[in-house]
Symmetry: C2
Subunit: 445 residues, 2 copies
Amino acid sequence: MNEMRNKITGTTGRPPLTAKEIGQHAGGMVCIHGSIYKIRKMSDFAFVLLRTAGEVLQCVYDQNYAEFDLEALKEESCVRLTAEVVLEERSKTGYDLRLKKAEVLSVPDQESPIVINQKCVDTSLDNLLNFRPVTLRNNSQRAIFKLQAGITDAFRAFLRAERFTEIHTPKIVQAGAEGGANIFQLDYFGRQAYLAQSPQFYKQMMVGVFERVFEIGPVFRAEKHDTKRHLNEYTGVDFEMGYIESFADIMEMETKMLQYTMEYLKEHYEKELGLLQVKLPVIAGIPTIPFNEAKALIADAYGRRTHEAKDFEPEEERLLCELMKKETGSEFVFVTHYPGEKRPFYAMDNRENPDVTDSFDLLFRGLEITTGGQRIHDYWEQIAKMKRFGLDPAQFESYLMLHKYGIPPHGGLGIGLERITSRLLMLDNVRYASLFPRDINRVAP
Amino acid sequence: MNEMRNKITGTTGRPPLTAKEIGQHAGGMVCIHGSIYKIRKMSDFAFVLLRTAGEVLQCVYDQNYAEFDLEALKEESCVRLTAEVVLEERSKTGYDLRLKKAEVLSVPDQESPIVINQKCVDTSLDNLLNFRPVTLRNNSQRAIFKLQAGITDAFRAFLRAERFTEIHTPKIVQAGAEGGANIFQLDYFGRQAYLAQSPQFYKQMMVGVFERVFEIGPVFRAEKHDTKRHLNEYTGVDFEMGYIESFADIMEMETKMLQYTMEYLKEHYEKELGLLQVKLPVIAGIPTIPFNEAKALIADAYGRRTHEAKDFEPEEERLLCELMKKETGSEFVFVTHYPGEKRPFYAMDNRENPDVTDSFDLLFRGLEITTGGQRIHDYWEQIAKMKRFGLDPAQFESYLMLHKYGIPPHGGLGIGLERITSRLLMLDNVRYASLFPRDINRVAP
């Protein structure tokens, strides 16, 4: 009876072969699978480009060797190919893949309306996104998200080594953490609930539990902006840590994390970095400048009048990065001590100058990619600041438990994954760094 | 000028010390930090239990050595302690921590209304959850979530080694993937949108891009159930893979992933497994039984009349696991070939018996923890099945692009992280395995 129950046996076998692994079979035969990316016919043979899990493999079709008709292969058909691995010095991989057999596993119903097998997908941003299930198959398009997976892998490896614990906090919440009207509402079994603008409250609570925590998950902002920098749903990389001496500890942790990440990408993502011609930033140290000084510096250097005294305009962020790069060589800059009225109610006021907060943003290649700082840990200090902000502490009862029942001095930050990806790869719009972006006009695919 | 900008220097230093690392300083002094978990006064000395990032460390306070008054320490105060590491054979760690100095970093405003420093938190489930920011500080409570982080770490490490790419897909969507009324609605800038019931559509699209993908993220179900098994927001572990020969490939991949995970936990989480007295299941292989046979078997063995012919009742899942354990020794069982009408429209019908699907559930210790199967990859087959299900293909235009423009035979699964955690730790209610559970009555903390 057990035998019968076990009669279905899988054939999963090993993970998909890489070009490098195929090289180890030189002189022998390999079985590979993938989608037909492109067929390039020459005078008496053809190149068949196979898109596999991680690469585009060039195979050679020669009717003197192949046991099938080339006509059997169509673009975007999924196939299993048997090929001989023939040493060939002139080939980039060091070998030729000479096709023997082909088994067609699936055939598309139609041709893609957008050409996806060129170096780039040559279409409008709107089209690129409308046809995302197909356009992501382009080898450069998908490399963006391979690298993005590399970034989160590196973040996790770094944070784990620093003894951060990964957490999963709810996205349906009773109150917004970041205040304002930029929050999606939802009917939750007859009650009003919201989509989390950040895991802020929860990660602070968890500092009391694990001291150091992080979360990589979706964040929702109902902002009506329609810019190159905004998404209404994005992936937040959040960490929070206890027992800090000042918010400089957070900045130091982020600096180390970014250094680790660049090294990690260099080591593991050479192929994608090459394909997308990415210039990884060198991070020796990150210069730091107080907000007020930065404002003055920009006004000075560019003779530019600002319309917003308490925050940066996007153009100012760009100019500050330009200045800092010229002056220090760094493509990153920490701006510190933001005015209190532009930071949330949980931001700790500076002890010497209560008009500013012990907070920071990190700018990278012209764009803010991180917001962080020290948080208030004293119960009565938090109550007082809530009241100053016109908030009713009774509405934040469970959040305030963390202060009421004791929490260490702590702080943390939030990084926008799509933003850091887009700046790293010099993508001109944050939407390019989101698989299926959500903006004020787009909720599909 | 640069100098001035860099004047803030962090003191983050190394990650929090573990008990093991402290042992390496025997004969010397260490500086440790954490929360005062409990003070146990003896006749002429006291034990001070310090809750650190990952442990509860026992320190000895003796006024002959200490340079501070014991009264300075209060439960849930956050402190930095200097202690001598004195070799002591009778101690579990091999040393005593003899307190010298104490610096109090924060003091709670009030005592916790719930006792959290006993072996268990002795209160109702409702109280446990209402006071989550405090009750999670209990050493056993937090161990649940340390182990949960271990499970996802193991999943990721396994899937990465098998060349799965991690993805982040949108949670605000235009249409539900799982059908039915169990979907949260939301106003998206004047349009109707929904919260994703699963990343199903997106992970299938991504098979066409990366062949193998996974996502660990929130999943939303507006189910009105109020049971021990249901959450309205949970963490879904989803993977999807192309080029399968049958859905058995998926089951094989999951079996290997679970085997890897149990080994991983054994190696890295000895402390937590001991604390929670977890008996890890031994997974030699997982028995497999078709749904219809399983139904008959249960009816046979227990003389039980079923009220639901096309699915299991919860009690049947429990009985089947009991039977299978008796018969095969396995605490897991795969049930295959579920009737088509109880599976979603993307499930592939069995070629020999179109009344059933090439799908499976995995039951573990009486509870369904996974649903998976092969998906339809042919465009017209999918269109036809949608119509049979009374669905309008025009509503699924972007989803259908994956079929229209070619996709390999593929399948995948979804695991409920809280469910597998709760069964692994023998927690009687899935809520115990969620940091901040969401159910029909609860949206806070």
